[in-house]
């Protein structure tokens, strides 16, 4: 394992150098928010404070992404024949991504990188991205990453893990991809001998700060249809307004819609994030809607994350514990409580949502 020390005085300079070879993304201040977004030339990522409002999902999977272009000009011999959009010319670097967000890509990858069929757009973006994470020393009150498969110092899905040591970032280089990024940035200073110990201590301190958990131990064993037919869904769903906040802020939600648009003779086929919270999501052409009721849609979201995904991949829940859906749900529907209801279902019949 290589450790490299980056003096903060060398930080901006290194990013400027890396910018020549990479498209840089990071936490960016936008008004009162900090969102994960593209960095303007020379712009420094905001690395203080809590996690970003919008996750790093869009680095690999933009909210709107053009898949094909075509001409609809009848005089054009290639009219109506779709042409794949070229991939971005330069690789991307997600600088200062939190370990939970980085881990989310591994969960989402199971969907887009299936053994038999590959989502070429997601994969080409994912493979062209180097994930330079920042260890999370100040986890928030709604962070429950440690019980959701990762943690504030989790290295899963990362190429480099940075630790803020005050005057410097201590970098743990995890992959060749990460080493290439460090080289492009020109950071190569030897790290102190106790670097590993610093990471260990930092991890222990950060993990100890995480007070929030989800219970997931029984989710796999309770039969799907038992949870589906559980009696608590009406109560869970009552307050829901069926907006897309939870699904759009979630780093692990991946649903999308495909749309064509034409202006003049030039057309595109693009995909846009979609949300299982919207009635239109499942509406048939006939007018029939298998999830026409709010409670069905709310159930779908939680069942997908906490049961279908668990059963399908046998690898835990489709949630990294970032807490965004809890922080920003307009009506305070809390995935931790729903998860507890599901996990304890049949065991503790008196368990209420509140």
């Amino acid at each position: 394992m290589t450790y490299i020390l980056i003096d903060k005085t060398q930080w901006a300079q290194g990013l400027a150098a890396a910018e020549k070879a990479y498209r840089l993304f990071g936490p960016v201040r936008q008004g009162a928010m900090v969102n994960f977004a593209a960095l303007a030339p020379g712009q420094a990522p905001e690395l203080d404070g809590l996690n970003t409002r919008l996750s790093a999902r869009s680095v690999v999977y933009p909210q709107s992404e053009i898949l094909f272009e075509y001409s609809v000009d009848p005089k054009d011999p290639a009219a109506n024949i779709l042409k794949e959009t070229p991939p971005p010319a330069k690789p991307a670097a997600a600088v200062g991504i939190r370990p939970c967000d980085a881990y989310s890509f591994l969960l989402v990858r199971r969907n887009f990188d299936a053994p038999d069929v590959k989502d070429v757009y997601w994969l080409r973006n994912y493979e062209a991205t180097v994930f330079v994470g920042l260890a999370c020393d100040q986890p928030g009150s709604t962070c429950f990453c440690t019980s959701a498969g990762c943690g504030p110092y989790s290295e899963q899905g990362l190429d480099v893990l940075l630790k803020d040591t005050g005057d410097a970032y201590l970098a743990k280089v995890l992959t060749d991809k990460g080493a290439a990024f460090m080289a492009a940035a020109g950071w190569s200073k030897d790290a102190p001998a106790d670097s590993e110990a610093q990471f260990t201590q930092g991890r222990q301190a950060a993990e100890a700060r995480i007070a929030s958990t989800v219970e997931t131990d029984r989710l796999a064993e309770i039969p799907q249809m038992v949870l589906y037919e559980a009696d608590f869904w009406d109560e869970v769903a009552f307050s829901c307004i069926n907006c897309g906040t939870c699904t759009y802020l979630c780093p692990t939600c991946w649903c999308f819609d495909i749309q064509d648009e034409v202006h003049g003779q030039h057309g595109i086929r693009e995909r846009n994030w979609d949300s299982c919270m919207f009635p239109l999501f499942t509406l048939h052409g006939s007018g029939h809607n298998p999830r026409g009721q709010k409670v069905q849609r709310v159930r779908q979201r939680f069942m997908h994350k906490l049961k279908y995904y668990v059963d399908k991949y046998g690898n835990g829940i489709q949630c990294v514990g970032c807490g965004r859906c809890i922080q920003y749900c307009p009506v305070n529907i809390d995935i931790r409580q729903v998860c507890r209801l599901m996990n304890r279902f049949g065991q503790d019949a008196s368990c209420k949502v509140a």
């Binding site: 936008q30 307050s239 307004i241 907006c243 897309g244 307009p330 509140a354």
Partner: protein, 315 residues
């Protein structure tokens, strides 16, 4: 606020016990500071879930749409006006409702308090005219009136306009309020400046539709943004589509909006989309002297015709 909560539980218990209603719609304590969750109470055993404080900004009229049961609902001034609008628009029947009026002293602006806090907030306590905000390494106290939601600060109808019961004495209405300072500032801009202003205002929008879905007025079975034949609006993040959504939605609320602030409160991206609905609310007031949801026996100006309707704009 504790007095409100206790009175609410008492009324709810009585109404359920006397079988005057099947359900009570109110709020229960949320899992985070400054958050309460709308809840539905059907059993006397659950009445003690009900709470009231400055974090009940969600408009409960939104939960009444097309219900068929007998309901008791807690209603601030704005909620009550939206209930009136719902009744006028046949979304609920007056006979189904026991409206429990909640004289309101304004809701707390969680976004503003969060933005002022030096770290993550762990507890917020309302203490009479003050709000105490605590975090891991800080504790700040703000006068309540300085941390009200923007719509509450300029509210002229804090008391419910229609009610069957009250949880407390009526509160004095605010006087000498300048409701439209922000709207006038935008009106004064030239076309270019307006365009830029709206472009910047809407840039953070992720089209989650929380504003629309939190709004009691937005009950259309299929919203125009979801229509596919014809498709009125594109589905992407293109600013033209985002702008079209917000402007058209606002127009659909013209003469109906009560400025309850639910849209802004719900927005996960902190967009002040109330400037759109407020402009239309201002027009409704100036053109027709109309304030939405005050009376049950008058239809809003945009779905009635009167020979003296203003028509200076027609050349």
């Amino acid at each position: 606020m504790q007095a409100y909560t206790e009175k609410m539980r008492e009324i709810a218990r009585r109404l359920l016990k006397e079988c005057r209603v099947e359900t009570v719609i109110g709020f229960r304590k949320g899992s985070m500071p400054m958050m309460n969750e709308p809840c539905l109470v059907k059993s006397i055993d659950d009445v003690d879930q009900l709470v009231w404080d400055g974090n009940c900004g969600i408009n409960l009229a939104n939960y009444l749409t097309n219900r068929t049961d007998q309901i008791a609902v807690f209603a601030k001034g704005c909620d009550s006006r939206n209930i009136v609008t719902h009744i006028i628009e046949n979304k609920i029947k007056r006979e189904q409702l026991v409206i429990i009026g909640v004289p309101c002293k304004g809701m707390i602006d969680k976004r503003r308090i969060r933005s002022m806090a030096p770290g993550e907030i762990t507890e917020v306590v309302e203490d009479g005219e003050n709000v105490r905000v605590k975090g891991e390494n800080f504790e700040n106290t703000y006068p309540r009136k300085e941390v009200l939601q923007a719509n509450c600060a300029v509210c002229l109808h804090r008391n419910p306009v229609v009610y069957d019961e009250l949880v407390a004495d009526l509160v004095p209405e605010q006087q000498d309020v300048d409701r439209y300072e922000d709207v006038r500032a935008i009106e004064a801009m030239g076309p270019e400046a307006k365009w830029e202003f709206f472009e910047a205002l809407l840039a953070p929008c992720i089209r989650c539709y929380a504003c629309r879905n939190a709004c009691p007025l937005c009950y259309c079975p299929t919203c125009f943004v979801d229509e596919s034949m014809p498709q009125w609006v594109g589905k992407s993040q293109n600013p033209v589509d985002v702008r079209t959504f917000h402007f058209l939605r606002a127009y659909h609320c013209a003469g109906r909006c009560t400025d309850c602030g639910a849209c802004e409160r719900a927005c996960p991206m902190g967009i002040n989309m109330r400037v759109f609905t407020k402009k239309l609310e201002k027009e409704a007031f100036e053109q027709w002297g109309w304030e939405a949801g005050l009376v049950l026996d008058q239809r809003p100006p945009l779905d009635t015709y009167r020979p003296d309707d203003p028509q200076d704009f027609i050349k």
